[in-house]
Every structure is written in structure tokens, then in C-alpha cells.
């Protein structure tokens, strides 16, 4: 039983994590707009509306309500649905959730999870398609998760709910439907702050996360055909970053390519590159390449939109420039 698994999609795994944690702890609640539309409808069969709050269109307000509830005995999960709406709520996340414990000299704790889905490659255009992880990385006091597969999504979300600090949980809609075997163990947790080597290799390190992991792995297969063995590190937690795993891999390969679906300038990839250019410089044999979305907005036209994001060919090409 403990080691048995069940096939779930990424989104189903997220819903299961809700179900298990809400069963385990009655202080866990879910808040958001039209939560039933975003996968949670099955939860209504089991939990009452008191713990499943459909909110008015008030992102800043209900995120702050989640913070206030977290300060007073609940463990809220606030679903902002589409990550492009995160900006509206950012003040409560940055100035309140991330700072209240500090500003009160440790008197308070903020066990809050904020979910947001990066809604790109979906023909919804510039106001829906942002991947704003980097905007939050500069904020002390937050933890930021961005899983690439169903079991990590489930295990990380459960860890987030049990964590006493505010956690941002980025879902990737390009992965929502992706199915895999997921542990059924209700205490299957994925630790916050640990990367996962999704593929071992010796010639180059490819660091990726969330929706950039599939193209990274596909590129590794392409390269393997030419005898190039890429190690693919799935970051999983963006903040705090697992520097040890990244630096360890680069120490072995001497080459680093970072794949990130966010805009190039000020990206997650930039932070990883900065860390390695300082602490891993001695092991670097080649420049650090970032394969990212360019610093332009996301267009409605589907072909143009697709052309902006990293794919296996772009990743493989970047690797080849280092050989």
C-alpha cells in the first residue's frame, strides 16, 4: 500500500493533494474564483462550502483574506488561477505574507499557499500568458515551487500546505493533462528546496523546471543519439534554490545550459547563471547559455506564440555551442 501508485494527471495530482490535506487537517481551506472550474469540483462532494470559498473578483482582497486567515489558525490555499493575475495580489504577498513574521519579531507565522497557473502556449495572448516566477524570487521570506510532473506536484503541494511559511506554487498548464504514476501514500512529501536529477549525464548540465523540463529531456535524447550525455536537473523549487545539486552537476560536466519559459531578462535562468558564475566558476569550461522566451510579449497568433518558447531543438542547439 505505502509503495503503491495510481495514474493521475498533473492537475488531478494537485486536486488529490488538496483532498488529502483537507482530510488530514480541518484548518486547510481552498479559496479562489470559480474553483470548481479549475479542477476542484470533486472536492465539493466531500467538503462544505465553508472550506471551499468561491471568491468575488477581488484578487488583492481575497489573497489578503488568506493571509489574515493564516495568521489566525487556518492553513489557506489561495488559488489565483491564472498567474497573470498575480500582480494584482502582489502587495499582500510581498508586503504582508512575506514580511509579517519578520516585522513582528517572529510573533506570527503565515502558513499560506498561493497557487497560480502559468497559462502560456494556449492562445490567450499577452494578458493571460505570463510566467512571472522571477518577479517573486527577489522577495525574502517566500518559498517558490514549480513542479514538472504529477508526483512532484502532489508531493510539493502537500509539503507547501504543511509548511509554516508562505509558499507560492506555480502550476504549468502545458503539463496539466500529463499523466504518470503517483504515490498514493498520504504522507508522500517532496521536500522543499531539493532539485531532482531527472536524467544523469556527464557532458553537459541542463537545468530546467516546470514546463521547460520536457523540452530539456527531449533535447537530451536528441543529443544522446550523437553520443552527448546531458544531465537534466529539475529544479522543482525555485526559491530557495538547491545550489548544491546544480553546482555538483556542473563540477562534473563543466558546461551549463539553463532552460526557462520566462522572459529572458531577469529570468530564473539569470539567477542560476549568476550563482554558478560565482560559486561554480572554477568548474566552468564554457559560457553559460540561457534558453528562454525572448523579452517580448506573448502574441495571440498560435504559430508566433509557439515559436517564442524553448523546444528540444533550441535546447540541443544551445548545448552544441558548448562542445
Amino acid at each position: 500500500m505505502l509503495n503503491s501508485t495510481t495514474k493521475l494527471s498533473y492537475l488531478q495530482a494537485i486536486v488529490e493533494a488538496h483532498r488529502e490535506e483537507m482530510r488530514r487537517d480541518e484548518t486547510v481551506i481552498l479559496m479562489g474564483e470559480d474553483i470548481a472550474v479549475y479542477g476542484a469540483q470533486s472536492l465539493f462532494d466531500e467538503f462544505d462550502e465553508g472550506r471551499l470559498r468561491n471568491c468575488p473578483l477581488s484578487e488583492l482582497g481575497f489573497t489578503g483574506v488568506g493571509v489574515g486567515a493564516a495568521l489566525t489558525g487556518l492553513r489557506p490555499i489561495v488559488d489565483l488561477t491564472i498567474a497573470s493575475f498575480l500582480y494584482l495580489a502582489s502587495d499582500q504577498i510581498i508586503n504582508q505574507a512575506a514580511k509579517l513574521r519578520f516585522m513582528t519579531g517572529g510573533q506570527l507565522k503565515v502558513p499560506l499557499v498561493v497557487r497560480a497557473s502559468t497559462f502560456y502556449n494556449n492562445r490567450t495572448a499577452a494578458q493571460h500568458a505570463d510566467r512571472p516566477y522571477p518577479l517573486m524570487m527577489n522577495v525574502p521570506g517566500l518559498k517558490i515551487l514549480a513542479p514538472s510532473c504529477a508526483s512532484d506536484a502532489k508531493g510539493l503541494l502537500k509539503s507547501a500546505v504543511r509548511d509554516d511559511d508562505p509558499v507560492l506554487f506555480f502550476e504549468d498548464i502545458t503539463l496539466w493533462g500529463k499523466k504518470e504514476e503517483v504515490p498514493v501514500d498520504e504522507d508522500h512529501l517532496v521536500p522543499i528546496g531539493k532539485a531532482d536529477v531527472k536524467r544523469a549525464g556527464t557532458d553537459v548540465t541542463i537545468v530546467a523546471f516546470a514546463g521547460s523540463v520536457p523540452p530539456a529531456l527531449a533535447a537530451a535524447e536528441l543529443l544522446a543519439k550523437d553520443g552527448i550525455e546531458a544531465e537534466v536537473v529539475d529544479l522543482r523549487t525555485l526559491l530557495p534554490m538547491d545550489k548544491e545539486t546544480i553546482l555538483g552537476s556542473v563540477a562534473k560536466t563543466g558546461r551549463l545550459v539553463i532552460v526557462d519559459n520566462s522572459h529572458r531578462v531577469g529570468s530564473v535562468a539569470s539567477e542560476i547563471a549568476a550563482v554558478v558564475a560565482d560559486e561554480g566558476f572554477e568548474s566552468l569550461r564554457k559560457p553559460i547559455r540561457r534558453v528562454t522566451a525572448p523579452a517580448v510579449h506573448v502574441p495571440y497568433n498560435q504559430a508566433l506564440e509557439r515559436s517564442l518558447f524553448p523546444d528540444k531543438n533550441k535546447v540541443a542547439a544551445a548545448v552544441r555551442t558548448l562542445l
Binding site: D34, A36, L57, S58
Partner: protein, 326 residues
């Protein structure tokens, strides 16, 4: 008071253009949020405006430019994501913005257009023109902080803005009853010292009359008005979003479609005014317009990376060189 003959027929034509344009979308390129059911509210409001008045809209963006009188071809081409689209295929279904008619942005961030319309009002006041600014938004948007902050500023500064709420009773699956402390958006106006008016959104002439009065107030420097048009969304929230739950009664939908359709209601009014022949002519003309728009969209080329690059900056610096475009 009723619209005169010509205006009445134009109003009927614009409502029908919205309806047929969106039926064509369903048939040829099913994307986005439809305004079917809202035509009376949208066109009634737009008919009270001049071409040089400003308008902001929402994710439910098809009706507003059509209501303002826009050419259907670039709008349909935009739906198809084509280079000849009103936004070069970069904006898409939620952003049909035709600036030649004073539209300054259809915001897919709910509530995001309310400050923009208010800013247009400020611009009018500072530049001392006699334009007005009309802001379309939904019942759900009325719960965003931008609604509160914007209406208060417009009231303090007496800006020439008409806040026009298309209250269709729902925000996706969430009813007004479950998301508003009390159900009338217009009742919030008093808190800002602003008049708030409720009007039947299915009656184009009632909407036009209420809006015309608010426009007159605004042009006279008397400040903003909040108008709430009670209307209804005949179709699902978006034909790209699957709705797994039942949030409104079939009978309710059926009733509005059968008894409260703003187009059939107004057709009867105009027919009773002896305009049967003219109505037939309008219907033929609209059918042709929509057909041409679809053909135009189909025949148009896709946008290219250069179009995207050209649209990013007015004054590019180190761009596109440093943007990392492959």
C-alpha cells in the same frame, strides 16, 4: 424617448452585426467570450456617443467595437489571428480594439479597463475638449479594487466618464447573489456621491436614453455617472472553457433567449413603426458584411515575427538586438 428612424435602423443593424458576427465565430473559429444577449446594452450605450468619444471594454470584447460602428473585416481577421487583424493577430478575441473609433483597450484583466477610461476622462478635462469616456465592465468587475478607486477619483475630479456595467448576473459560474453584498451595482454610486442608474439592458432605446443623459451631464462638466444595465449572457462564459458544474437553471436561460432577446424585441418595435421593408434590407446587408468579413479573414496572411517586433516599442532601444529572439 425613441430613436429616430435612421438611428433606430442603425441601432438594429449594429445589434444584428454583433449577433451575426459571433454566430460566424461559432461556425468558423470558435474562440472566446460572446456578447450574444448583451447587444441592446452595448449598442444602446454606443449610439449615445460620438466617434471621437473614448471607450474601454473587457475580455468580452467583440460587441464594443461593433457597437461603436467598426468595420467587421479587421475584427474577424483578428479573431482568426491574421496579420490584417485590427491588432495584427497579436491581441486576439479578448482585445478587439479599434482605436480609429476611440477604443483604447479591451482589457482581459477584469476591472483593468476602469482606470484607463478614467484616465481618458482626465485627459479630456486637462486638454479641455468636449469628449466623454465610456467604460464597459461587468458585474464581476465591480468587485475589483479598480472599480472603487476609479469611481471615487472620477467623482472627486468631476471627470466626463460614464461607467457602464453590463450586469449579466454572473461572473463565469459565480452569481451576483453569491459575490456582491447586495445585488445592485448602481447602488454603490451613492458612496462616491455619484448618480447611479439601473436600466433594462434588453431595451436598446431605454439604454440609449439613460446613456445620452449621462453623456450630456459629462459634456456639461457635471461629472461621472454609473449606469447598470441588467442583461444576460445567452451562451456559456467562453466557448473555450469547459464548465463542469451547473450554476444557472436551464429555464432561466431559455426564458431570456425566448422572451428577452434585445434583437427580436427591437425588431418588433421597429416593425410596429412600419419599417418591415427597411428591416429586411438591414438583415440582408448585415449578412453580406459578415460573409465578407469571414472571407477576408480566411484570405489574409499570418503575422510574422517582424510584426511582433514592430509592435513592442514606440522608441526601441537595444531592441530587438538584446531581446533574445531566436
Amino acid at each position: 424617448m425613441p430613436l429616430d428612424r435612421a438611428a433606430g435602423l442603425e441601432g438594429y443593424s449594429r445589434m444584428l452585426r454583433i449577433r451575426k458576427f459571433e454566430e460566424a465565430i461559432i461556425a468558423h473559429h470558435p474562440v472566446g467570450h460572446l456578447s450574444i444577449g448583451h447587444e441592446g446594452a452595448i449598442v444602446g450605450a454606443c449610439m449615445a456617443l460620438r466617434d471621437d468619444d473614448y471607450v474601454t471594454g473587457t475580455h468580452r470584447s467583440h460587441g464594443h467595437p461593433i457597437g461603436k460602428g467598426a468595420d467587421l473585416r479587421p475584427l474577424m481577421a483578428e479573431i482568426f489571428g491574421k496579420r490584417t487583424g485590427i491588432c495584427k493577430g497579436l491581441g486576439g478575441s479578448m482585445h478587439l480594439t479599434d482605436t480609429s473609433l476611440g477604443l483604447i483597450g479591451e482589457s482581459a484583466i477584469v476591472g483593468g479597463g476602469i482606470p484607463l477610461a478614467t484616465g481618458a476622462g482626465l485627459s479630456i478635462q486637462v486638454r479641455r475638449t468636449d469628449q466623454v469616456s465610456l467604460c464597459f465592465f461587468g458585474d464581476g468587475a465591480a468587485n475589483e479594487g479598480t472599480f472603487h478607486e476609479s469611481l471615487n477619483m472620477a467623482a472627486v475630479w468631476k471627470l466626463p466618464v460614464i461607467y457602464f456595467c453590463e450586469n449579466n448576473g454572473y461572473a463565469v459560474t459565480t452569481s451576483v447573489e453569491k459575490s456582491h453584498g447586495q445585488p445592485d451595482v448602481a447602488r454603490r454610486a451613492d458612496g462616491y456621491g455619484m448618480p447611479g442608474i439601473i436600466v433594462d439592458g434588453q431595451d436598446i432605446e431605454a439604454v440609449h436614453a439613460a446613456t445620452a443623459e449621462a453623456v450630456a451631464r459629462a459634456r456639461a462638466g457635471k461629472g461621472p455617472t454609473l449606469i447598470e444595465a441588467k442583461t444576460y449572457r445567452f451562451d456559456e462564459h467562453s466557448n473555450r472553457l469547459a464548465i463542469p458544474i451547473k450554476y444557472r437553471e436551464e429555464e432561466e436561460v431559455a426564458h431570456w433567449r425566448a422572451a428577452r432577446d434585445p434583437i427580436t424585441l427591437y425588431r418588433d418595435v421597429l416593425a410596429a413603426r412600419g419599417l418591415r421593408a427597411e428591416l429586411d434590407a438591414v438583415e440582408a446587408a448585415v449578412a453580406k458584411m459578415v460573409e465578407e468579413a469571414v472571407q477576408f479573414a480566411k484570405d489574409s496572411p499570418e503575422p510574422e515575427m517582424q510584426d511582433l517586433i514592430d509592435s513592442m516599442f514606440s522608441n526601441p532601444v537595444h531592441f530587438p538586438a538584446d531581446a533574445g529572439i531566436a
